[in-house]
Amino acid sequence: MSQRAFTEALLDPERAVPEGLTGPAGAPIGNRFDIYRNNVAVGLTEALIAAYPVVHRLVGDDFFRAVAGVYFRQQPPRSRLMKDFGDTFPRFLAHFPPAKQLAYLPDVARLERARVHAFHAADTPPLNATGLEGSDPARLLASRVRLTPAATLIASPHPILAIWRANMEGGPKPLPGPCEIVVARRGFDPVMAELPPHGAAFATELKRGRTLAAAHATAPRGFDLAATLAALAAAGAIAALEEPT
């Protein structure tokens, strides 16, 4: 029997059990194949719950398990590292009709994904906030800011950071409105910080290698450069300040 036939039946409970499998001493297979189906479903569902605890809370256990079943059957893991499983889950949720009413859900999932990424990212010591102070303003503006490998920038029309804090830390009830967030790491723990308006787009320009002045030029009038840099540094998102030579 081919492994193809085995896996097709493994992922599709409606499909007949492949020929050539038996119980003890050639006895009929009975429900024994379902043990593998169940192991795969439970293993992948639990991995997804561990990676997306807030999405799990927001939709409830029954709904989450149903969504997880649709997800892993449509998109089985492509990586053997369970930390990577679910990397496409935010986009999947955005196109999953039964979750459409919870418009904020895909962005909450993006935030949770960014936390997993930060947790496993390379160990790059972040620059302290103080590292930016006292620099000559002209030299500072000509500098490039290298972000840490842990850093992810997210802009959302929904208050996803407040939603996360309300569910995981007992934070206050989220008020509607957009938010921009940097997720990075200090020590070994993921850190999230809110950025001023346009901060995520600005920091994305820095990530592309633009100087502070060039990134600043893309921002609208009134953009708070100092507060954005302070928030990035506080989250441990800044690896180095590369001054012009």
């Binding site: 492994q3 194949f33 043990i35 990586s79 053997r80 496993h120």
Partner: protein
């Protein structure tokens, strides 16, 4: 034969869980070595790898792979082989082991250990993969017997014969999971002691003990699930004592991966293994 130059102590070890880090560093009790799942330490950095570096300074480490798919029909994944080599290179573990199973097909990974028919064709393929892995890692590996829930009509030989042949042809060692022996024997209605008697105990570099769940098949016969979510069952301890009597004390791991208990509960399992090992020394 077993490569004993670089090996685990013939004493209890446990499967490492991050929540036990402080307890283990403070007082490991009877635990002399630790086992980690290779695939959980393949990120770029962060706490898991930092903890493993600390633990490795104090304890011999066994790296236990769960994702190579040695029994897969496709060639071994080169990227994954490279990740395993990288981990073994920087960690220099006392042992590396993997499973007689497959877990991938056509680029998809199923996160489970799937069963193989014991045929000459499978044997040739598994031997090729084991030899390739040992070549890449530059070390002997241990191959673990699976827990079985079903059988293949096409199988041509017993599992013990199959594993004995792999060890003979590739020079690999074997990891004897005593709970798997018991689970498979109950599920396929064979005698666990016959399995142990036929097993090439000389090649065993490590023993696994873990808990199982009990269900029933549709005819009401017991069906055991290798769940690693509770204490080792009494008949598995009894079987372990038989293994020790026949083969002598071996490095023995307590596996507890789901519903992980507080450290003292896990340490008590290790103490029980140590007590059984004592007369076998």
């Amino acid at each position: 034969m077993l490569d004993t130059a670089r090996s685990l102590p013939a004493a209890p070890g446990v499967g490492y869980k991050a929540q036990h880090f402080s307890a283990i560093m403070a007082d490991p009790g009877p635990v002399r070595w630790l086992e980690v799942h290779a695939e959980n330490y393949m990120g770029d950095g962060g706490r898991p790898i930092a903890q493993l570096r600390h633990l490795a300074q104090r304890f011999p480490i066994s790296v236990h792979g769960v994702g190579l798919s040695i029994g897969g029909e496709a060639p071994l994944d080169r990227d994954h082989l490279a990740r395993l080599k990288h981990l073994c290179d920087w960690l220099n573990p006392a042992s590396f082991s993997e499973h007689l199973a497959w877990s991938t097909h056509d680029g998809a990974y199923f996160n489970d250990l799937l069963p193989l028919p014991y045929t000459e064709a499978t044997l040739t393929r598994v031997c090729r993969h084991v030899a390739q892995l040992q070549e890449v890692l530059g070390r002997q590996m241990l191959l673990e017997n699976p827990s079985s829930y079903l059988a293949f009509a096409e199988s041509e030989m017993d599992e013990t014969e199959f594993l004995r042949e792999i060890a003979a042809r590739t020079g690999c060692g074997l990891l004897l999971d005593v709970n798997n022996v018991f689970v498979s024997a109950v599920n396929l209605q064979t005698a666990p002691l016959d399995y142990i008697a036929a097993f090439p105990l000389d090649a065993v570099g490590e023993i696994h003990l873990g808990g199982h769940d009990e269900q029933q098949d549709e005819s009401g016969a017991p069906l055991l699930i290798d769940s690693h979510g509770r204490e080792v069952a009494d008949p598995v301890w009894a079987l372990y004592a038989q293994v020790l009597e026949l083969g002598g004390a071996r490095p023995t791991l307590i596996e507890w991966d789901n519903d992980v208990p507080d450290w003292p509960v896990l340490a008590a399992e290790a103490t029980r293994a140590a007590a059984l090992m004592e007369p076998a020394r």
